[in-house]
């Protein structure tokens, strides 16, 4: 009798605890019976009409997984739930390192979130779990650049909201001390070499300030600058990697000359160039737009400026200024319930047509907006990184490159700089490694989606 009483009591306590932990607890969503009215339709070609009920006004909760940018993404969720108070969107931050194993496994076992942020480097692991966007592709392509490069079997599962690419950062104080002004921003690589020499400081034979450093930032320029001279990362079949070519070799030698001929830096001075820049030891580095956020957060005392990546020849428009990678829009879980998918589709449409929030998102991550409505936006034009990049259509995307490209280029450069391997031999090894490692990936380059891609190649 006592035992059964204890059993009943423990079940009761457990039930109370479970009820206390149930998703309904603390929910701010409320049932809605009357659709909003009189609200403006937002968007350009692709539009969003908020004057209707979502999920028939019934309460629904969606989880949204992401690894960063809680506040800027929360603004999207807040704006949407303000329009549709019956919807609750709970943002769950998973650290980057865990995100890419937890997310696919959760999607696979059916416990994944309805909405989740995507980085296209994990395309292969996620594409099988993604619900295609339920959006008119013509309207989407009219408002967003690069949509066709994201077509999979004629459908879009995510696209780019912003373009991330490379540029040169310089220390403004060192720049001024060297007697340089904004008029001295180098437009060509030869000009950059001259400026770097003026920015280099020595104490006797000892380097105390590097004019330019690229230590540990090898993949950024090596996989982008060959495009300036029309050299692609893939052969015409869009499948065979092409790292071992004369153009890539010339890029390697150009950067080696900065250390060996001009001596504006050293492989042993500031082993990680962006850290060295942040520590005030290096005057110029080339890296991608995301470094802007790191500078503000980690090195707030550094006064810096930016300029566009130099090109080989004065006055000549390169084939492309650089490689870019897109920051991706939110994915929808194909395994979610029909109601969740419907609301998620509505939320994605809302997000893609909200110019103000999209602008804030692009500014937050220092990416050029792919939303054409923001092409001439004054806030974008005033951003230190985005203002330096210029035309969005002069950057090329090779697709979500397999990790083998970046790791092989890093090893290639370390072998050249630190292990005494000849550049040509290191390039050949990198080519073999990448070929071997992506042989079974089924990767197909998107280079042929670039507007200036030659008709005959």
């Amino acid at each position: 009798m006592k035992r059964s009483g204890a059993l009943v009591a423990s079940i009761g306590v457990t039930a109370l605890v479970l009820v206390g932990c149930s998703p309904g607890e603390g929910s701010t969503a409320v049932e809605v019976t009357v659709a909003p009215s009189g609200l403006p339709v937002q968007g350009e070609t692709l539009t969003y009409d908020p004057n209707r009920l979502v999920n028939d006004g019934e309460v629904i909760s969606l989880d949204w997984w992401l690894w960063d940018g809680d506040e800027v993404f929360q603004a999207f969720a807040d704006a949407y739930t303000e329009l549709h108070p019956n919807v609750e969107i709970s943002i769950v931050n998973q650290p980057w390192d865990d995100y890419w194993t937890k997310l696919p496994l959760a999607l696979r076992d059916g416990s994944g979130p309805a909405l989740f942020n995507i980085h296209n480097s994990h395309h292969d692991n996620l594409i099988g779990y993604l619900e295609p966007y339920d959006l008119p592709l013509d309207a989407l392509a009219a408002d967003y650049l690069g949509v066709d490069a994201h077509l999979v079997d004629g459908q879009v599962h995510y696209l780019d909201y912003g373009l991330m690419t490379g540029l040169v950062y310089y220390n403004a104080d060192m720049w001024a001390r060297a007697g340089l002004t904004e008029d001295d921003h180098p437009a060509t690589w030869d000009e950059l070499r001259e400026v770097a020499q003026r920015l280099t400081v020595r104490d006797g034979d000892r380097l105390t300030q590097a004019g330019f450093s690229f230590n540990s930032l090898f993949r950024e320029f090596s996989l982008g600058l060959p495009y300036q001279e029309g050299q692609h990362l893939f052969a015409a079949d869009m499948v065979t990697p092409d790292l071992d070519n004369p153009t890539m070799l010339s890029v390697v030698e150009r950067f080696l000359d900065l250390y060996e001929v001009d001596q504006v830096g050293s492989k042993d001075f500031g082993p990680v160039a962006d850290e060295s820049f942040g520590q005030g030891q290096t005057a110029m580095i080339y890296t991608w737009g995301h470094f802007y956020g790191s500078l503000l957060e980690d090195y707030p005392d550094i006064d810096f400026g930016t300029f566009r990546t130099p090109v080989p020849d004065t006055g000549e428009e390169p084939y492309a200024y650089d490689r870019y990678n897109g920051e991706s829009t939110t994915g929808i879980n194909a395994g979610a319930s029909a109601e969740e998918i419907a609301v998620a589709q509505d939320f994605v449409r809302f997000s893609l047509t909200h110019a103000d929030l999209m602008r804030d998102l692009c500014l937050h991550y220092s990416v050029l907006p792919m939303y054409t409505a923001l092409a001439d936006d004054p806030a974008i034009a005033a951003h230190p990184v985005l203002s330096a990049l210029g035309d969005v259509d002069r950057y090329i995307w090779p697709g979500p490159l397999p990790a083998a490209f970046e790791s092989s280029v890093d090893v290639m450069w370390e072998d050249i700089l630190y292990n005494g391997v000849e550049p040509a031999a290191a390039l050949a090894t990198a080519q073999q490694t990448v070929e071997r490692e992506i042989a079974h990936d089924g990767f197909v380059s998107r280079e042929n989606h670039y507007a200036a891609y030659p008709a005959e190649r």
């Binding site: 696919p104 996620l126 042993d268 082993p271 790791s407």
Partner: protein, 311 residues
Amino acid sequence: MTTIAPSGVPADTAPRRTRRRLHRGERSLRTTVVLLVVGFNAVLLVYPVVSALRGSFHRWNPLNGTYDPIGFENYATLFTDPVFWRTALNTVVFGTVVITLRVAVGLALACAIFARVTRWKTFFRTIFYLPTVTPLVAVAYVWKLAYHPQIGAVDTVLGLDINWLYDSTFALPAIMVMTVWKDFGYAVILFLAGLYAIPEETLEASVVDGCSPAQRFRFITLPLLAPMTVFVVVTSVIAYLQAYVQILVMTGGGPGRSTNLISFLIYEEAFVKYNFGYASAIAFVLFFCTALMTVVSFRLAGGRSLLKAAR
């Protein structure tokens, strides 16, 4: 004649029943505990190991559901992969040097603390053991900073200008020094325990017999410490064949491949390239090498000490 207990139960059978009941209770407790341990190992050890073994014969990515049988292709690739052989060589060099230094430094300091003349023995034991209980990730970050060529303590204190972690001559030795510093305290404590276990009269007898301190160490202390030495070596072999945290934090396997170790290669293949099949194949080769080296260590050191004990 049977004596009847007041309760009506035969007097000689009552305690037997109690004993049997106790015995049964104890037996069921033991069975439960054993089953729990077996179940725990089956779920968290045997099942993953068997899954990984099966996976090593597949092109396998659990994140997107790829699981295509490819026979021995992963193993064939592995044995013809120059990166694997370079990594294997690095692992052998790393393991041999670090284990040797760990044993040598650990034994030397244990003997120094054990000596009668040494004071503040507990203090020294604590100091030497401190790095062992400090998280390896934290230690690796601190040492990485210390090895920085411009702002690092190592170059500043020694008056050198060496880019420790980016020079292929120094990178692996630099990581070895950090690893020995981190781990020697473990060996000190174990060797001290071994030294305290040596019978006092044995050492006194050697003094009476006229042994010099060196002879006493060579012919008494070392042989009697052999089982502990085997234990330290075997646990070190297992630990250092699996070392990867310091590589991940300090060099990422570079420059080039000069500090790449087997376990780091497994990590890279599995969690960077999502090539779980190939990573599993490497893991099984490592597993067999670890088992083989453990057996060899036992045979060599254990056999010799037994032989000497018999003499």
